[in-house]
Amino acid sequence: MSIKADELAKIAVLARLKVDPEHLQSLTQDLDQILHFVEQMNQQNTQSIEPLGNPLEQHQRLRTDCVTEPNQREALQSVCNTTEKGLYLVPKVIE
């Protein structure tokens, strides 16, 4: 598997990353090498190996279902520059 410059540009858009056009080539090469390394790992036979969900050998702790968070809207919205009627305002998005 290898990656091309235009694919990288597309992924950058999806990830909301701004990539300088002059870095596109070198970045593509770096990523290509990483993907090549992944490819090598993919070739290993992992049939008998249990999938790794997390490198820590621990299980998820569970939380009791109760409401512990009071309303802190005022404090939380104090760091936001545009709010109205309790809503956060963002540039218009319409699908």
């Binding site: 999938p51 939380r63 279902d65 409401v67 968070e69 956060y88 305002l89």
Partner: protein, 481 residues
């Protein structure tokens, strides 16, 4: 060309926990915007999710109810996309290792036969916030109260073959989750939302056709209508030799049509990967066993019991067992009046009529199950005729008091004293001497029709309170005697 319809449903069920799936904020409906969105829900730096035990238990409950595999280890993944109502930039969901896999449920088709629908998986995930597009001077308002609400996404195999089957499946799911008490199932508040995958293929063809997905349909009726108009749209295209484009569509109930959601510049690529903030969830056998023991009686079992214990018909039992609230109501009424058949008739007749008129659910009924049971008792012991029973029902509905008090207050007690009835009938016959003459001169088959006139007069004279059966008997006897 004969086309076969192929439908699969993805149903999002909002779980009835107290708090969110990964934070301690409340999920109560109807709060002021952003008053139930804490630092975790807002994705403030350094915040970590902690998984809600009850959400897990509810998923297990559902899995057991549909005879599915409960995975001993499940893993949360990040589904990445950018939208302002998703502050983290990803939704925590489950991709490769969902909590529930491979279950099934049986739906009843229109001809009364049963069909098994397989459930591919049910996975846990968090809901996003809400975007409000109106009235903010060209800006969008964001309410994050819903962000982090626990959802169970239930995915069916593409085994449904018509809109009607899809609705039957959805109703069955609704009935199961409400019986289990894992969701309030209130579709109008978005507690159950449905994405419908629809495609067509020539009959006999193995491969599926290209499908479209109708997003976020929120009522049984709209699911049926949305699927049917999408089937028609696809059929028109295919009949004209065209091609279906795989895309997401939205249903507009006002125009009864689906339209394409403007396709995004870049196709969605969610770049799933295991969420490093959450460890694998391990479920112990004992937990599964404990939950299995706590499962309530489910709709199918209840329906069979209603048939065997109460002697109801399959049809009546099916309707009464369709929701837990209705089934509980029925059992309370039946026990109170000790007559299941009458209880079923009153619930599916008078009560349903009033509930429908006022658009209420049975749990909101102003007439309690105890009151209806008392009312039926008074019909059974002949205190009330069926007709007077309906009058008392209406008073109960208007919250005018208890059954016996209403009967007393309004003087609705049925007259069963035969001498009183006879005296009243004599009066009626005397007042209508000419009609009596006509009756006696008429052919027997005509008499039957004419009797109705006298019954009407007698009931009117008694202001509806005379026992109709006794009136009939006495009238026939006196007219023919």
């Amino acid at each position: 060309m004969q086309w076969e319809v192929v439908i699969g449903l993805e149903v999002h069920v909002q779980l009835a926990t107290q708090s969110k799936i990964f934070s301690g904020a409340s999920i109560a409906f109807g709060a002021e915007p952003n008053t139930q969105a804490c630092a975790v829900d807002l994705a403030m730096p350094g915040m970590l999710p902690v998984f809600n035990e009850e959400a897990l238990n509810m998923a297990i409950k559902f899995g057991l109810a549909i005879d599915a595999n409960i995975n001993k280890v499940s893993v949360f993944d990040r589904k990445n996309y950018f939208y302002p109502d998703l502050p983290k930039g990803y939704q925590i969901s489950q991709l490769d290792y969902p909590t529930v896999e491979k279950g099934h449920l049986d739906i009843t088709l229109e001809d009364g036969s049963s069909k098994r629908i397989n459930v591919t998986r049910a996975h846990l995930e968090e809901d996003a916030g809400k975007s409000l597009h109106e009235d903010f001077h060209g800006q969008t308002g964001i309410d994050l109260n819903r962000a982090g609400t626990p959802l169970l996404e239930i995915v069916s195999e593409p085994e449904l073959r018509s809109a009607k089957e899809a609705v039957a499946y959805l109703k069955k799911l609704h009935s199961i989750v409400t019986y289990l008490g894992i969701s309030d199932g209130d579709m109008s508040q978005g507690s159950m939302r449905c994405d419908c995958n629809v495609s067509l293929r020539p009959f006999g063809q193995q491969e599926f056709g290209t499908r479209t997905e109708i997003k976020n349909v929120n009522s049984f009726r709209f699911v049926e209508k949305a699927i049917n108009c999408e089937i028609e749209r696809q059929m028109d295209i295919l009949e004209d030799g065209g091609r279906i484009i795989q895309e997401t569509r939205l249903y507009n109930p006002d125009k009864d049509e689906t339209r394409s959601m403007r396709s995004k510049e870049h196709a969605n690529d969610y770049r799933y990967f295991p969420d490093p903030d959450l460890l694998p969830v391990v479920i112990q056998d004992e937990t599964i066993e404990r939950i299995r023991q706590s499962l309530p009686e489910l709709p199918e079992a209840k329906k069979s019991r209603f048939v065997s214990d109460y002697g109801l018909t399959d049809y009546d039992a099916g309707i009464l067992a369709s929701t837990r609230a209705q089934a509980d109501y029925f059992e309370t009424v039946a026990k109170r009046c000790d007559d299941a058949k009458l209880a079923a008739n009153w619930i599916m007749g008078e009560l349903s009529k009033w509930l429908n008129q006022e658009n209420l659910e049975i749990q909101q009924s102003p007439v309690t199950a105890q009151q209806l049971g008392d009312l039926i008792l008074r019909v059974k012991d002949n205190t009330l005729s069926g007709k007077l029973g309906k009058t008392v029902f209406e008073s109960l509905w208007q919250r005018e008091g208890e059954v016996d008090a209403i009967i007393e207050k309004k003087g609705l007690k049925q007259v069963t004293d035969s001498s009183a009835i006879e005296a009243m009938i004599d009066e009626v016959l005397n007042a209508n001497a000419a009609q009596v003459e006509q009756y006696r001169a008429a052919e027997p088959e005509k008499q039957a029709k004419m009797l109705g006139f006298f019954v009407g007069q007698a009931m009117k004279a008694s202001r509806g309170k005379a026992n109709p059966q006794q009136v009939n008997e006495a009238l026939t006897r006196k007219l023919n005697g």
